[in-house]
Amino acid sequence: MSKASARQFLALTGLAATELFRQPASFLLILSSNACTILTPLALSFQLGQETHLALDSSLAFEFMFGIILAGYAACATLHNECQSGTILIVFSKPVSRLMFFLAKYLAIALLILFFVFCSGAASLLAGRLSPRNFEFDALGLRLLLAIPLVAIIPAALINYFTRRSFIVYALMGFTLALVATVTALGMMNGEGHRVAFGSLIDWRILPACALEGIALLILAAIALTLASRLTTPTTIAILAVVLFSGLISDHLITLLPSSETLRFGVRMILPDIQAFWPADRLAGGESLSVSVIAHAAAYGVAYACGILCLGYAAFRNRQF
């Protein structure tokens, strides 16, 4: 790739990513996902010692649920809306290849997903830390949590008021910083506010689990981008939900098929094996995710995403506007 092409690619990615991070919907989805994750421990009491496990399971479920909505929305906001509004014509009137354009869009969506996964990871750590232990609920932690939205929103509002800069971008940054600060603070103290060894009360296994789910979301983002060249946002998200659900029960679906090895192999190739990215069962058994498990899943994810992106590009390449 020449310097000029690299500059083009970065320009396209940067523009698409800026557009996505400035969308109010992106901020609201990330905020909601993390709010659901963090507030789940409130609903967990008297679960016979399973509170932490349930809180972490819920956080993984929320990450998937909000993640597919975010992926579908982001793909349509960048690609579909650009096709509809006609701004894509201006881009293609410049010496920009469709492949570069398509990949730049994917990279922008991937950046948003990675940011979402980072925030989800922090929120999951908090959820695990705050889940009731021995029937005791961490009221101090709850009060600290309620300050997070204020810490995120008030500075962003002040920046917007005095400098007229984008509220959404600064609110996102503020929210992320506040999350990380809260994890750090609560990692250093217990429910009574006494100092403890950092991280001793936090279940760190959730971080690789979130990362694993993030890889699945990147696969789903590739599918979303492929669909977004033709379909609207609700349809794209609906199909992503069907793909996610089918991927989670792919083993069961394959047993329902006629016993033809070729057919079963074909379906296994087409349906993404989302089960490999659902770590809740492993975490429930007390295991942690080893590097090899994640590497294996990442290799599968990269290969699958590349395949889907090839299909998507093949559909996009000859699209007329």
Binding site: N160, Y161, R164, F167
Partner: protein, 290 residues
């Protein structure tokens, strides 16, 4: 142009101001700043100005889509926010914001229903306008498949559905070919002769010059010039004579005389036709040729 212009004001604006505010309620953009405007019945009034001068904002306030920050505005003797006044108005926007899944026929029928039209009167009016706009062959095609020019024609047709007393047009000739432009201009002149009042926003100054009786030029939200086209265009200390070409001797004698009287030698040019008339003539001849 319509010489029998009534003095009755159809649109009257006094100190009209519009300030767009940000989320905190602070002024962000002063789009229209204290303009005074009178549009009289039966005239074709042009609103000119560079981009961002406040033309669209003024039109939207007249249509009741925006609320003035201060000042007074009256349209057909009522506040523009009154719903009933819209039954006597027609609006053609700059872009054709149409429902792309409907056919031309369905769109006009839909808007006719919104005007409260029904029965044979509605059908007749829709058919007449489709014929008039030259869309008979495309009446059952979806608007999403129309070219820009065809979409503009539908846009104009829906503005005329209710036989309005006041018609507002934003770039009416944009996207139309020269013959289409000529037809629209002729239509607008005919409507003005019927006593309709027309307010046009356009950047096509030659079109405005052709049809407008009065214009206002906006700049940065203020009216910087207003008056009849003739008054604005006239240069009082020069004259233009049109005559059959005399002999060279006579011409030289006349020019010498005028030079002695005025101090400058007049310029002599042969009059010609406009590019528009050549185009129309050529296309018409080709169309009528066997």
């Amino acid at each position: 142009m319509n010489d029998e212009i009534n003095t009755e004001c159809v649109i009257e604006a006094r100190g009209l101001t519009k300030v767009f505010r940000d989320f905190w309620g602070r002024p962000k953009v002063l789009a229209v700043n204290g303009i005074n405007l009178d549009v009289r019945r039966g005239e074709i009034f042009g609103l000119l100005g560079p981009n961002g001068s406040g033309k669209s904002t003024t039109i939207k306030m007249i249509l009741g889509l925006l609320h003035p920050s201060s000042g007074q505005l009256s349209v057909l003797g009522q506040s523009p926010r009154t719903v009933s006044v819209k039954s006597r108005m027609g609006f053609m926007p700059e872009e054709s914001y149409l429902y792309k899944y409907l056919t031309a026929d369905e769109i006009l029928n839909f808007y006719a229903n919104l005007y409260g039209m029904s029965g044979p009167h509605k059908t007749e009016r829709v058919n007449t306008l489709i014929e008039q706009m030259g869309l008979s062959k495309a009446r059952d095609r979806r608007v999403g498949e129309f070219s820009k020019g065809m979409a503009r024609r539908i846009g104009l047709a829906q503005a005329l559905l209710n036989d309005p007393d006041l018609i507002l047009l934003d770039e009416p000739t944009s996207g139309l070919d020269p013959i289409g432009c000529r037809e629209v201009k002729d239509l607008l002149l005919a409507l003005a002769r019927q006593g309709k009042t027309i307010l046009i926003c356009s950047h096509h100054l030659s079109d405005m010059q052709d049809i407008c009786s009065r214009v206002a030029i906006l700049l940065q939200g203020e009216v910087c010039a207003t008056g009849s086209v003739q008054e604005l265009l006239a240069t009082p200390d020069t004259l233009k004579l049109t005559l059959r070409a005399p002999s060279q001797t006579t011409l030289t004698a006349v020019l010498d005389l005028l030079e002695r009287e005025t101090g400058t030698r007049p310029q002599v040019d042969h009059t010609g036709r406009t590019l528009e008339s050549v185009y129309i003539e050529t296309v018409s001849q080709r169309k009528s040729a066997p």
